[in-house]
């Protein structure tokens, strides 16, 4: 969850850019609450435990499962503009690779 930590760290900057961050995983609400408290995340963290949004967006990992054998997301960033249009997507074939926060901020600056 290194990336979520980055968004926590840069939250003020994201707010100044009028960007709402939403974090989505398939963890049950209890786990999500725990993670949110631990991260001190000021943005909503949502529980997609029935995997509906995962399949709506197509982020289901073809390879990895969590410790309970349930599906998990391929780490994916979706940047949506004011009109609700998808403007940038980021996924990496290697799960340990994340978009640097500078790339994310650059993409946000391209909007409006």
């Amino acid at each position: 969850m290194a990336e979520l930590g980055e968004f926590v760290k840069h939250y003020q900057e994201l707010q100044a850019l009028d960007v709402q961050v939403l974090a989505v995983s398939v963890d049950p609400v209890g786990n999500v609450s725990e993670a949110r408290a631990k991260l001190k995340a000021p943005f909503p963290m949502l529980s997609d435990s029935d995997e509906k949004v995962m399949d709506l967006y197509g982020t289901r990992s073809p390879e990895y499962k969590n410790r309970d054998g349930a599906a998990i997301n391929t780490p994916t960033l979706v940047l949506i503009d004011k009109t609700g249009t998808v403007r940038w997507l980021h996924q990496a074939a290697d799960y340990r690779i994340r978009a640097p926060i500078s790339d994310v901020l650059n993409q946000i600056h391209k909007l409006d």
Binding site: V29, K52, G84, V86, D94, I97
Partner: protein
């Protein structure tokens, strides 16, 4: 002749050591296993489909709650 052989041995050892250092260095190996990802079901330039999910405060959060604002959704792996 003897001097040449010693040099050869030294160079050989240096080369072997160099290879040993080179091969496992992070720049030469992928960080994790690369996997072929299935295509996403959303595309740049199209509307992001709305959804409603429970949040940590027991409230349902919808993507459309933030219409008129920029939104960054981070689909993360969670506990695994």
């Amino acid at each position: 002749m003897r001097v040449v052989n010693v040099r050869l041995v030294v160079w050989g050892l240096a080369a072997a050591f160099g290879l040993f250092i080179y091969l496992p260095s992070p720049a030469n190996q992928p960080l994790g296993k690369e996997i072929k990802l299935p295509p996403l079901r959303i595309q740049v330039g199209t509307k992001a489909p709305d959804f409603a999910l429970p949040g940590t405060e027991g409230k349902t959060v919808r993507l459309s709650d933030f219409s008129g604002r920029k939104v960054l959704i981070d689909f993360y792996r969670g506990y695994w």
